[in-house]
Amino acid sequence: MLKLEGVSKTYDKGKVKAVDNINLEIKSGEIFGFLGPNGAGKTTTIKMIVGLLKPDSGKITINGLDIWKEPISAKKQISYVPDTPEIYNKLKGIEYLNFISDMYDIPKGIREERMKRYLEIFKLEKAVGDLIESYSHGMKQKLVLTSALLHDPEVFILDEPMVGLDPKSSFQLKKIMRERCDEGKTVFFSTHVLEVAEKICDRLAIINNGKIIALGTMEELKSHAESSQSLENIFLELTEQ
């Protein structure tokens, strides 16, 4: 479904290695958590997956489509929720959703049904007629989530999605993630909230200094770690080495 092969990225003319030879394969029906301390390379990796950053080397494929060789077809398969909801402030919520729907060629009937569904889940029905600049951070985040779900992506990629969400919306998002996986789709997300990762992820990877230092199910991670307790302990143990 989503495959990264030998992906590397450096900054500052090769002086800083942000991502160092990453190999990952995330299968259909899987929720994959991507963990790591600040500046470990999580956002850089995600940006490379969605086509916002070009890897120096390596290959990224989505359903067999290379994001850099067949960008349009590959981008149709994914949807991306960035860590900060920077969207067109001068559009109304509904205008933004319609704009994104047009970009993904979503037929009228389908977009109507999905918009209604997600706007109701995220309690945005009452705000959708207002300009986005009047929204709070959390509302913007929910609008981005709604827009990202409209085309029913095969691979749902989220960068720190829980930041700024109220507990109820956070719960709804986790539910949506699980539902998508039950339908055979893939969810790939980065997070700092270890409890969330522990609770909902089928598999996890921990990245530190641009390298994957742990990969597997919760049980696999626990069995490899010296102190096989919580994910927090495993995380601290691995990233402090």
Partner: protein, 557 residues
Amino acid sequence: MRKLFSLIKTDLNMTFGLSSLSFKAKEKQERWKFILIVVVMFSLIPFYRLFVSWLLKIYTGLSMLNQEGSFMLIGILYSQLIVFILGIVHVMSKYYFSNDLNILVPAPIKSSFIIGSKFISICISQYISQLVLTLPFIIIYGIKSQLGFLFWIYSFIIFLTLPIIPLSFSSIIVMFFMKYTNIKGKKDLIRGIGYFLLIGIIVFLQLKIQSLGNNIEIGGEQYLNKLLADNSILIKNIGKSFPPSIIGTFALVRSNSFNGFLNLILFISISIGSFILLLFISEKIFFSGLIGSSEMAFKKSSLQEKTIKDSFAKSYPQYISIFLKEIKMLFRTPIYLFNSIGGVIIIPIVLVMTTIINGKGSFGAISGEIEDQTHLITLFGIGLISLLGMTNSVGCTTFSREGKNFWISRVIPVKVEHQIIGKILSSLFIQLIAIAAFIISISFIFDLTLTNILGIVFLGLLGSIPMTELGMIVDIMRPLLVWDNPQKAMKENLNVILGMVVGILYLLVIGMIVFYYITKLELNIIYFIITTIFILSSFLLFVWLKKLCISQFSNIE
């Protein structure tokens, strides 16, 4: 007082980026920008020489009619009128939409201090444009009329005080405007429409004042006699549209007499008086226009079932959807609206005003000459509309304007071609407004035929395509994506100047071709040549732009 100086210093520093300039000058990567600016300046020298030699001709013409004083008046009047009209745009963004207000307003600073410091900063930036536009008038008049030492001292003082009166007026008008349009709800819309009404009213009043009392038949024998007998008749006639300019002119023209001194004192007094009036009014009304400016009405009004149905029912092809998004953003962001549409409307209006004022005075003959060759109007119109295709700033800031939202354009599964077409369409939409403004204003001077109008509409629009593409090429090469105030993306974006230089060079080449062939070839063939150049360059630039976008979309970090 220390507060005021500190405010002025900080404002100047921010406006002209002095600190960042000295910082950047030390960085190797940034140095090329300075070199670029110097190159741009040098490339404009030929135009400037043309301007100066044109002024010399005007002086000679006027002095033959014993009206050389009105030459000085033209310099002062236009300088003041330009400051006045462009001042409205400038003042509005500086007083009400600039970023530093978030810091200044909560601080314990009087509003007259804030306005005073901002006023002085605008004044100083006006001196720079005045140096280019007004100084040649002063120098030509001073040397040609062989005036003494006092003239040069007086002109230095007049030069310094010149922008104060018009800028005070535009500041006062804007402050009242903002106070009474600070209405909850559709504030942006009210201000958008109000702004254009305001400009319209001002221009209308100018024209009305002009037409008052022009009873003497221009060109008649009686008129000529009057001209020769009274060397101030044109000054009084033309200067009516902005009376302080008459006083300023008399101060200079009569610098060798006591009357000149009196006029100078009067001019300075009016300047100081208008500035004090501005400060006084600012204390009363500035904050009431400002507070809540950035507030957004949040209705939380659920969309009615019917509205939802209507909104959902809207589905467009990708490039149309991008075009609509661009237009909505342009219209809903005041700074973008004033700069793009404001620019394309003001330029034709000012141009026509100039011609009307000139026409009623000494240049009536020019309009008569053109009247016989209406194709010249069409050609001029095509050139001007094409030029506005760049100066509307829509193309050369199209990527910069996206700022932090640029990621959306890069992740959506839309071909680059469609994105480019959507953006070009948004510029062409603004150009339609430019064309309407141009045709309406020029029809005040000339009777346009259908052929004129069709030529201007079609070839003007066609010419706007390569201009927009050139602007987009400049912008995608070095997009300014990191900004926190939309002013930076459009008004303070170097790409606008770069685009203008490239655009002028492009039009200059076409202009030279037309100029060379205009007497040698049939008119229709010339139109055919222009059409071919526009279409070919549109196509080639599109291909180049597509390549650049593909590479930049994946390389920008």
